[in-house]
Amino acid sequence: MMRYAQINTNSICIAVSNLKGEVTAAHMIPIADDANPIGKKWENGTWNDVATPITYRTINKMEAIKLVITHAGMDAAAEEAMYDDPNLSLLWKRWNNWVPYDDINRDKPDVAEFLGGLIAAGHMTQAQVDALMADWPKVGG
């Protein structure tokens, strides 16, 4: 048996195969019997780990509001002021009527509009929003 790692066009190992004979191909890398480089990158004759891109998960409205309150450092009075702010009347109507409860996606325009509105009305700072975006729940996190 010959054991090979098969790499894709980005040199990432996506398959490991025990074959009956030798195979000669640029995308087939001979490996040891106990090797498992799946997901690793073949570079200059060695297998290197690949940084996993961050994937943010969709959250619900309750989680979103909690993120806002936490990152803005709001107490109950500040929270209530945010809800009752007449400058945010349209924003809250859109938030309540247009945005599905459990489909708050970090990269959707309605999130940017919502947070931008909070900044414009003085309930959050840009730095707080930046911190919120960085702390957005991640897949598997």
Binding site: M2, Y4, Q6, N8, N10, I14, A15, V16, S17, N18, L19, K20, G21, E22, V23, A25, H27, M28, I38, G39, T55, Y56, R57, T58, N105, R106, D107, K108, V139
Partner: protein, 113 residues
């Protein structure tokens, strides 16, 4: 009278066994029909008239395009299949999923004498 199966000493009829596994975070090739999503695995040459390719086990995800991944369950499962498209190419393929499937599976190619 029973169903005809392999001879008692069926192992003597097997010329070769090749096996492996595929773990694809993303990047399955796209085609049509039964090859809507597929990945080609290079194998040592077999006689395609005497070889059988199978998926032994699999696990899959579908991404909804918004960063959420769902493990598949019975009603929407991504079921991968295996077939030989040439003497040296095993194709792992599936025709049913929407979205961007992520697939892990093990496979086996048994060649009979």
């Amino acid at each position: 009278m029973g169903i005809s199966t392999f001879p008692a000493d069926s192992s003597s009829q097997i010329a070769s066994i090749q096996e492996g596994y595929v773990g694809i975070a993303s990047g399955l090739s796209s085609g049509s029909g039964q090859d809507k999503f597929y990945y080609d695995v290079t194998i040592s040459a077999v006689d395609t008239t005497k070889a059988v390719a199978t998926v032994v086990g699999s696990f899959s995800f579908t991404a909804n395009g918004e960063g959420t991944y769902y493990a598949n369950y019975a009603s929407s499962a991504i079921v991968p299949y295996a077939r030989l498209t040439s003497s040296t190419n095993l194709r792992i393929h599936t025709g049913n999923p929407n979205g961007s499937p992520r697939l892990m599976c093990s496979w086996k190619v048994v060649e009979y004498a």
